[in-house]
Subunit: 434 residues, 2 copies
């Protein structure tokens, strides 16, 4: 008998019919002999409707009240889901974040989980009942309702799985799993059967939307196996687990070890991101501490920057240009913050470019295989795509292109690394770095 945490997103519980379908799936898991805990998001468009209501009332509502408002959504979906399961003859009880013991700090709108104390969930399981838990929400030490922000429900599920020492955390979604690229862009993209936490982190950070970055971080820290799968089929999805080389037996011969390592794919996939823009600060005096001061100002504005490029300064003027990428949503506050200190920083101009795209190649295997960058840059050159910025980590290479070129870039890289499936079926890529 396994202890399974299942998470269903808003699209899986968008109306009464889909709630009944999900209830059937949960009842089956329970009847198969598992202990089942379910984390559920708000129904379909509920959150957007509540946001609209708030916008009608106030342009800048207090965040504490926004959290109370938005958590009404999960209250509705979780109680309806419990009713639907009960109707199938399986006892189920729903719990708010507070009741489930999701303790957070008091930062409304983006609270962090500080502890998980799931006494009531354990009691419910011991009684042989299914526990339904509201995703996305918790309670602060002052007994105020908090929300976890973006990706909150995935994080709730993983945190509960860790707190309950669950065997697996299943994230149900409307796609079959994590793909080697977005199939809408790269038709040959195929489902990845298994990916390490590190690779999943890089994929999520690079724009893959199926699993929230925060949930992956949490899963890695507590070594929670996460199974990303479709709520519309019974097929296995993608298992996020372990580290690269897990297949290697440390007592095996070096030849066997090498062979085992070769069974891990070098490349996991190609992610893309359209959510960023580029700001270029033109004509900055190239003096000591200038860049530090600029990024102090940007950080104080609450902006998460991603990539930074500084040009070589022109010898005759001693001026340089500094470019960085940031989320579209932060453009306004960041330019305002920089313009406010224009006379101190002595730059000429700020240029905003919101027509960029970022494509990233991720694979834990690439760190031991040379020539990956060269192959990637070559593929883009052959496709006639100009590279504007580059950043790398040990297991990721990202480049910024024109937004119009992004889809072509994804396809070119996906093909260059032989990720395309011949017949659209899931073949495990086990290339050798050629």
């Amino acid at each position: 008998m396994a202890l399974v945490v299942q998470k269903y997103g808003g699209s899986s519980v968008s109306d009464a019919r889909s709630i009944k379908r999900v209830a059937k799936r949960i009842a089956e898991a329970k009847r198969a002999g598992n202990d089942v805990v379910v984390v559920v998001s708000a129904m379909g468009d509920t959150t957007d409707e509540l946001l609209d209501l708030a916008a009608d009332i106030s342009p800048r509502p207090p965040q504490r009240e926004m959290d109370i408002l938005l958590t009404a959504g999960e209250r509705i979906s979780m109680s309806l889901l419990a009713m639907a399961i009960d109707k199938l003859g399986v006892k189920a009880k729903s719990f708010t974040g507070q009741q489930a013991g999701l303790l957070t700090d008091a930062v409304h709108g983006k609270a962090r989980i500080v502890d998980v104390v799931p006494h009531r969930i354990r009691q419910t399981l011991e009684k042989g009942q299914v526990a339904i838990v509201a995703g996305f929400q918790g309670v602060s030490s002052g007994n105020d309702v908090t929300t976890l922000g973006r990706g909150g429900s995935d994080t709730t599920a993983v945190a509960l799985a860790a707190g309950l020492d669950a065997d697996v955390c299943e994230i149900y979604t409307d796609v079959d799993g994590i793909f080697t690229a977005d199939p809408r862009i790269a038709p040959g993209a195929r489902k990845i059967d298994k990916v390490t936490y590190e690779e999943m982190l890089e994929l999520a950070a690079s724009g893959a939307k199926v699993l929230a970055l925060r949930a992956v971080e949490y899963a890695r820290r507590y070594q929670v196996p996460v199974h990303v799968r479709s709520s519309f089929s019974g097929k296995n999805g993608t298992l996020v687990k372990g580290t690269h080389g897990d297949l290697i037996d440390p007592n095996a011969s070096s030849e066997e070890q090498e062979e085992a390592a070769m069974e891990d794919p070098i490349i996991s996939g190609v992610a893309h991101d359209r959510s960023e823009a580029k700001i270029t600060i033109v004509g900055v005096p190239d003096t000591l501490g200038q860049a530090a001061r600029i990024f102090e100002v940007v950080a104080a504005a609450g902006t998460n920057i991603d990539m930074i490029v500084q040009n070589v300064s022109a010898a005759d003027t001693g001026l340089t240009d500094i470019s960085f990428t940031l989320p579209h949503a932060d453009i306004r506050s960041t330019t305002a913050a920089l313009n406010a200190v224009k006379s101190e920083l002595k730059f000429d101009d700020l240029q905003v470019d919101d027509e960029i795209g970022k494509v990233s190649l991720v694979g834990a295997g690439m760190k031991s295989h040379p020539g990956i960058s060269a192959r990637l840059f070559g593929a883009l050159r052959d496709a006639g795509i100009n590279i504007e910025m580059i950043s790398t980590s040990e297991i990721r290479i990202s480049v910024v292109t024109r937004a119009d070129n992004l889809d072509d870039a994804v396809r070119a890289i996906h093909t260059a690394f032989e990720l395309d499936s011949a017949e659209g079926e899931a073949v495990v890529y086990a290339g050798t770095g050629r």
Copy 2:
């Protein structure tokens, strides 16, 4: 500086515009120097929409889950109201029943308040902020969400006013106060300025819908002055307070006492109720304990019966008929319960009559004034209306008529007791029992 508890019903907060209007009113009360606690119901049709959703999922959903579902409504209205007040520059915080310290028993769907521990509300007031509290809900000792059932928000407001020792509990509604009759039926009906708890209890129990019976009971027990008034105007409404003869100074001369007592109106008003039906059990053997057994069965079915009439038994058969009134909603369960024991009770037939109406005359003054019943029956006779059942208390006379005759009965009684306002303005009735 006064401590005021204000309660706004669903029709007062049906959309963003009305929420802003209510917020303005609350901000004014706060700026006038009062400590303000606001109890709010769910927006307009929210509760009905949630009930529809539940009905789509299950015909008999678990009541615990219904309570979680329905309380989402107040969560939405209370946070939006807090945002709207904040936007006017007045700090406001919203609280769930649990956060506000509304402790109840665990009877989901119709929980009773067992204690009110409003620490956080007091703290909020001490900080000079407005506290918004979700009506209709509380928390059980097991930390489960409960709802108070019908009239729950009025009850929350009165209970909080009692717990906070408030100066007044203002119930805002869409009419100007309590009227001597429903103005849609009796156009001459006028607003009552002041009514005692006892009279208000009888009016509420007899069908007056403006204030919930339970809230009046609570207010009487804790002597909370309740001011029922319109959220659409600044006019005074109806003050529910004290007992009949409050104006009498016990140290005054008997002549002065008599004069003071005469200033209290004899009759408060005429209430009507269309929500009841009549069941007649035909041909019951008129033996000892038979009636007791019948009403045991009815009580076990959870039915609240109102009036009972037993005919004189026919000498030749030894059989009698027993009629009683009950809410429409209870007809099905009650007839099922009685038919299940038909062979034991040995009755011939059950007749259900759902075409009845009940009209009630209420007034604390009537107990010291003879001839009230005679005048009432005379008025109905003159209007050609047949009386089917009668019940009385010290300060109320109720009669059952055909449903078609109910409006005529209300008007005839209202006129006979000189309750009609000459010019539609609020004149205090101070008749002397003639």
